[in-house]
């Protein structure tokens, strides 16, 4: 499959019914004041109770088969549900990593016992995961991880430090990438994924505050923590293959385009009142690109649904989409002339502030844009 054979997707009519259900549910949640709309809620909006309500409706773990608590509804159904949640600015952070990557990873590489142990809880919106990949000296160059796993009787002992682990302080488990064999010429060999259940007395979790003061991610120190054999994910030594096989899912979703959509929507009524001809054109430029980016993200979901792993296409979605998320901010900021202020009584002012303060993360998390363009360059045959 090459880059240029990506096909547009027309969503089946039955997904309209699903979409209408999600939309009606969200309207009710918002109007009852149970949730509030914000930008970048898949990072910042942690709400156990809301996740549970989604779980009750079958809208988490949609990719899992019924025997593990899911509905096997497929990638396109999941796309519809997630984009509706994101567009509404709903608080989805608690289950996000479990639903998007840990769950599918467990489904693909886990044992039956592991699937039984975790997937139903994930699908109910009760079991949350963190991703332990980055380290103080390991960022873009993920294969350089230093956390070590050593074989012991009945399992492994892990030592090392993970950083930027989103939600690890509230997660029930962290999938941890560690080196289990000495480095060789093949830098990708000898890495293994472990399911480290939390809390654990040998795991120290310390907050690293965002520049806003929010506690989102953490330093996680693994101090000789014991992991039984039953909590090794997949084959020892194939951690690299497993981590990279999730990338198509992790990088192509609507969350790579829509982090600032609630801001754009909120600005519409304001700009309809205060804007002029020139502002219509500038808004339209953003709306047109958003329409196109959504189509691209949807086309990648179509490929996922067909069983492919379109990692390069996903890299394109993420590179273009995440840069676009900041274009939305700048367009609203310059046209509305509203001063961003997190303490303002005006919603638009507050949401603008939120978006600006969250913007550095857009083009970093999940692989920086420079790295993503490197992936594309490789596909073009120049790397």
């Amino acid at each position: 499959m090459d880059l240029w054979s990506l096909e547009p997707v027309a969503l089946a009519a039955e997904l309209d019914v699903l979409r209408a259900d999600v939309r009606a549910f969200l309207a009710e949640e918002l109007s009852a004041g149970r949730i509030a709309s914000h930008c970048d809620q898949w990072l910042g909006g942690w709400d156990h109770a809301f996740s549970r309500r989604l779980g009750e409706r079958g809208w988490i773990g949609m990719a899992f088969p019924a025997r593990y608590g899911g509905s096997a509804a497929g990638a396109l159904a999941r796309f519809v549900v997630t984009e509706e949640l994101l567009a509404a600015g709903a608080p989805v952070a608690a289950h996000w990593i479990a639903d998007r990557q840990s769950g599918p990873g467990l489904l693909k590489f886990g044992t039956d016992e592991q699937k039984r142990a975790f997937l139903p809880g994930i699908a109910r919106g009760e079991c949350f995961f963190a991703a332990g990949m980055s380290e103080p000296d390991t960022g873009s160059d993920l294969a350089s991880v230093r956390t070590r796993g050593s074989r012991v009787e009945g399992g492994w002992r892990l030592s090392g430090t993970k950083v930027w682990a989103s939600g690890a302080h509230r997660a029930h488990a962290m999938i941890t990438l560690a080196r289990t064999e000495p480095r060789t010429a093949d830098r990708h060999a000898g890495l293994t994924q472990f399911i480290v259940e939390l809390p654990d007395p040998a795991v120290r979790i310390r907050p690293i505050l965002l520049l806003t003061g929010e506690h989102h991610f953490n330093e996680v120190v693994l101090d000789d923590v014991f992991v039984p054999d039953a909590r090794v994910l997949g084959e020892p030594g194939s951690g690299w293959h497993q981590v990279t096989s999730e990338l198509a899912m992790e990088r192509s979703g609507p969350e790579r385009v829509l982090s600032t959509f609630p801001l754009l929507a909120l600005a519409m009524d304001h700009l309809a009142e205060h804007g002029d001809r020139a502002s219509a054109a500038r808004i339209g430029a953003v709306v047109g690109r958003m329409w196109a980016l959504r189509q691209l993200s949807l086309a990648v979901a179509g490929r996922l649904e067909a069983g492919a792993a379109p990692a390069v296409e996903a890299a394109v979605v993420k590179d273009l989409g995440t840069r676009f998320e900041s274009v939305v901010i700048d367009t609203v900021r310059l046209l509305s002339q509203v001063v961003p202020d997190p303490g303002s009584g005006e919603r638009l002012s507050r949401m603008l502030a939120e978006s600006i303060l969250h913007s550095p993360g857009f083009t970093l998390r999940g692989g920086t844009n420079e790295i993503l363009r490197g992936v594309v360059a490789k596909e073009l045959g120049v790397r």
């Binding site: 880059l3 240029w4 990506l6 096909e7 547009p8 997707v9 027309a10 309209d16 979409r19 984009e83 567009a87 509404a88 959509f261 754009l264 929507a265 909120l266 600005a267 519409m268 009524d269 700009l271 309809a272 804007g275 001809r277 502002s279 219509a280 054109a281 500038r282 808004i283 339209g284 430029a285 709306v287 047109g288 690109r289 958003m290 329409w291 196109a292 980016l293 959504r294 189509q295 691209l296 949807l298 086309a299 296409e313 394109v316 590179d319 273009l320 420079e370 993503l372 363009r373 490197g374 992936v375 594309v376 360059a377 596909e379 073009l380 045959g381 120049v382 790397r383």
Partner: protein, 352 residues
């Protein structure tokens, strides 16, 4: 892409490889058209794609037409297929008329064209500006307040002009009395409107741009692999790699948008948002891709002798034809503003 479309595209590509290579394109520059390629396309039966077969067309949907246009754009093909099929052909067919054979083009009347009923027929006088490929067209379909006038070669004087790429964009001085057989009155439920015509033209240009963008990218990738500086191919420099990746991203986005818009035209009632968005991102792509392709090629790409110009001058020309980024953005912006905070998402997703 359906098997039918895939086969069609492969055949058209073959014809382009044979008849629209670099030399053929250079020979056609400055208003020349590629008669051989046109003959081949007629033979394949694609020159009236999207026009119903029972009205003399080749059948097929807009998605297939767009797929063919992408290939023609890639090869800088000097043929009025968009004009013949999606514009003139569809105008005539939408009036229930049978499309004539041969290359055609289309225009919309403005204040400079006056019509008057006479005993002998409809008198038409005035000018039509910048009509694409008029000098090569056997017929010009003119949308005149809902009805369609079919002008023949003898119905106008022609002043030659070109766009940035040297493609014909001719001014017509019309002075004719058209018999009833050359005036098509639309049926009551006619889908014909100036807006619909402009929208089809914009989608066609966007599809051609996707092709030209792919070609500019391909040339840049190839050149970066060949050109050596500092003892290695410039493709080894990360700055160059990042330029190429940025180009690929823009082209993929525009391609996805154009094809999704074509699908929307074929399957949905209201594809206005889709087509406007496709033209906007294709225009954005054109700017980025043309400038980065030239940057990567250095001075050699800036010469008449180099074939890069065939793609980049087309990108620059087509982004301003049938409505530039700003014009279509304004259309979208107005829709978004009237949809308001609550209506923006339904507008984007085409749902209620």
């Amino acid at each position: 892409m359906s098997e039918f479309t895939a086969a069609l595209v492969a055949t058209v590509r073959e014809a382009c490889v044979r008849r629209s290579g670099t030399d053929a394109v250079a020979a056609c520059a400055d208003g020349g058209w590629n008669a051989e390629l046109w003959a081949a396309l007629e033979q394949i039966g694609v020159t009236t794609l999207s026009v119903p077969e029972e009205l003399g067309g080749a059948g097929g949907d807009v998605a297939a037409t767009v797929a063919v246009l992408e290939v023609l754009g890639e090869y800088s093909a000097g043929v009025p297929l968009a004009e013949t099929a999606l514009l003139a052909g569809r105008l005539i067919a939408d009036c229930g008329g049978t499309v004539p054979s041969g290359p055609m083009t289309a225009a919309v009347t403005g204040p400079e064209l006056r019509t008057r009923r006479e005993d002998a027929g409809l008198s038409v006088q005035g000018t039509l500006a910048r009509v694409p490929w008029a000098r090569n067209a056997h017929h010009v379909a003119v949308l005149d307040n809902g009805r369609v006038l079919l002008l023949g070669r003898g119905d106008f004087l022609l002043r030659q002009g070109t766009n940035l790429a040297g493609e014909p964009r001719d001014d017509l001085e019309v002075d004719a009395v058209l018999p009833a057989s050359q005036v098509y009155e639309p049926p009551a439920d006619s889908p014909i409107s100036a807006r619909a015509l402009r929208s089809r033209a914009a989608l066609a240009r966007a599809a051609l741009m996707v092709g030209a963008g792919r070609q500019a990218l391909e040339l840049a990738v190839a050149y970066a692999g060949e050109r050596e500086q500092f003892g290695r191919p410039i493709a080894k420099f990360q700055a160059v790699q990042q330029h190429l990746a940025a180009m690929a991203g823009e082209v993929l986005l525009a391609k996805g948008a154009v094809e999704a818009a074509a699908l929307a035209v074929d399957t949905q009632g209201d594809a206005d948002v889709a087509v406007a968005a496709a033209k906007v991102v294709a225009g954005q792509m054109a700017g980025v891709v043309a400038s980065l392709a030239h940057q990567i090629h250095g001075a050699i790409g800036y010469t008449e002798e180099h074939s890069l110009r065939h793609s980049t001058t087309r990108l620059w020309a087509w982004r301003d034809e049938s409505g530039n980024e700003d014009e279509w953005s304004e259309v979208l912006g107005r829709r978004a503003l009237s949809a308001g905070t609550g209506g923006l998402w339904p507008l984007l997703t085409g749902t209620r």
